[in-house]
Symmetry: C2
Subunit: 346 residues, 2 copies
């Protein structure tokens, strides 16, 4: 990869397909595997191993068919998703295909390694007419050198293949707790801002060839003083809204390329706030998963019931989230994009 | 190429991007090179060799910017077109890139050979995010065995590359007069139906892997008794409307894959009739070039004047042509598409 990154014509064309005409991303994530297996198992009282592939594809199809028409793009997976849901993705809705194995490979005491799906490739993603390759990378700044080296090598591998095929590289970075810190605590909420900013800074290095970062919301509104009266408030306070805004701005400053946020399974009302806040700080939109569709699993296994929930709950939720995205910065206005020679200008 | 053609997922996804949501193609052709050089030379009184590349790109940019927003896809060329016009092609407008050298290489007394642009490839077309590769192939059933062999080899080469990259192969076949027959005569009008049907039948052979044929209107309305009062009537009569309809139906019967027609520089009013008639016979739309934009050259070299003509003449002309396309058969309803295993159905 060159030291002077350049938006190749194919990357520009495909990035434009992922966004709306103004350059804002309003994307649906339905590439979940592990978490969806868990949700179906929990719903049915079965073991995860007893969830059938056809049940996975059926849910993904219902959600995709209902929500994709409202989205600028859909993130899907190559196993239970794209081969089965392609016909219900509108032609003018972009497609991203996930490349990572679901979950993680454990390393050391509490470190996480990402690996690529056997048989998945950027070349195949491009061949099938998708518009972007997405990789989920686990990240913690305090991980061992060996873990960092592994994670960086995976990112470099996908980045190089994306450059070769002029396919946008969408890198999702998910941070995780190490040591005594536990998820879902005020302590975790307090370390989140620095972890997410470190993730953005680390993988903005041109060596990875990332075109769009998919990041966590760099705080947790459940622990914000100004949101203490919201239904999702935890009852504990980690910081105030001013610090949350500062965290969003720090991520924007750290991110050398356009970025969007993921929903991490929060409820739609909370995600609406997430989207609004990061948009004000310079994010270019969202890639929303469980926040918009987790309730659909309540209708499982009835396809009719799932369709009904998708129509009555997921569709209006996605519309609300998209409305909150109006203040996002078009990706074409990001300093990185505006600052490199590209096919954007005549 | 397999004997049992199959619409690969990437081909299906890209074909859908070329058509409207119902599966009808309403496409703009602005890949002309030789004919546009001639038009600019004629307009300015210069030699074709004195027409600058930048003048070619300027015209193509004006036309693309004005008409592409109305089209389901744009056919462009890799020399003066796509690299310069990509930014003004909407993200939801498909892109086809032409692969043939403009004009033809002469063979024998009056035979025509097609050749590929040096450096052009289906792989590069795919890499740059285009949705289809287009090849113009000259055809006459009475050509020599050597000419046929050459033409078929070119088609097979492009077809194989398209199959490899899952890029739709759009094959344009243009017939030409041999012997004493001259273009623009009643005699040429009379032989046209059989030539176009032969072209369609010949290149529907699965060995070429063609996904969409771009064919000439298989008759000439300037020589039709029922159109004798039209401004474009020649004053001579070659046949009646019933024979024209029969010619369109014969082409549809001969075409083993979905097909669209080209405009061959006729005036918009005549092309509207062409589109309506082939649509009734089973065509899936049109790929319209000079018919919609030739008047723009009248404004050359003033970009302001060209923009004005494009807005005042090309845009309403394209809208009229597109309205005439309402009766076309969606490509997804073509027996070939309906009859093969594909990613179309869930």
């Amino acid at each position: 990869m060159s030291d002077t990154p350049r938006l190749a014509p194919g990357k520009v064309r495909r990035l434009r397909r992922l966004a709306d005409a103004d350059g804002r991303f309003a994307m649906l994530a339905i590439d979940q595997r592990g978490s969806l297996f868990s949700m179906i198992a929990a719903r049915t009282g079965r073991a995860e191993a007893d969830v059938a592939d056809a049940e996975m594809t059926a849910i993904k199809r219902v959600i995709t068919e209902a929500v994709a028409p409202l989205a600028t793009a859909v993130l899907t997976d190559p196993l239970f998703g794209y081969p089965h849901t392609a016909p219900v993705i509108p032609a003018d809705c972009g497609v991203l295909v996930a490349g990572e194995v679901t979950g993680y490979e454990a390393a050391g005491d509490d470190e996480r390694l990402s690996t690529l799906i056997d048989g998945w490739s950027v070349a195949e993603t491009a061949r099938q007419g998708a518009d972007a390759a997405k990789l989920l990378l686990w990240h913690h700044p305090d991980a061992s050198a060996a873990t960092h080296a592994h994670q960086r090598a995976v990112a470099e591998e996908v980045g190089a293949a994306c450059a070769e095929h002029e396919v946008p590289f969408v890198l999702e970075i998910v941070t995780y707790p190490m040591g005594a810190v536990r998820k879902g605590t005020a302590e975790w909420a307090r370390v989140k801002p620095s972890l997410v900013a470190d993730a953005a800074a680390t993988f903005s290095d041109p060596r990875y060839g990332v075109d769009l970062l998919k990041l966590e919301f760099p705080a947790d509104l459940k622990y914000v003083e100004d949101y203490a009266d919201q239904p999702y408030a935890s009852g504990e306070v980690a910081y105030g809204l001013a610090e949350v805004r500062a965290a969003c701005e720090a991520v924007d400053a750290a991110s050398g390329v356009p970025w969007v946020i993921l929903s991490a399974g929060v409820d739609p009302a909370e995600f609406v706030e997430n989207v609004r806040l990061v948009g004000e700080a310079g994010a270019s939109g969202f890639l929303c998963g469980r926040a918009v569709w987790k309730r659909v699993v309540d209708g499982f296994p009835s396809e009719a019931a799932m369709r009904e929930i998708a129509r009555e709950i997921s569709v209006p939720a996605f519309e609300q989230i998209r409305a909150a995205n109006a203040g996002a910065r078009p990706w074409t206005a990001h300093p990185y994009v505006a600052g490199v020679p590209s096919a954007l200008a005549l």
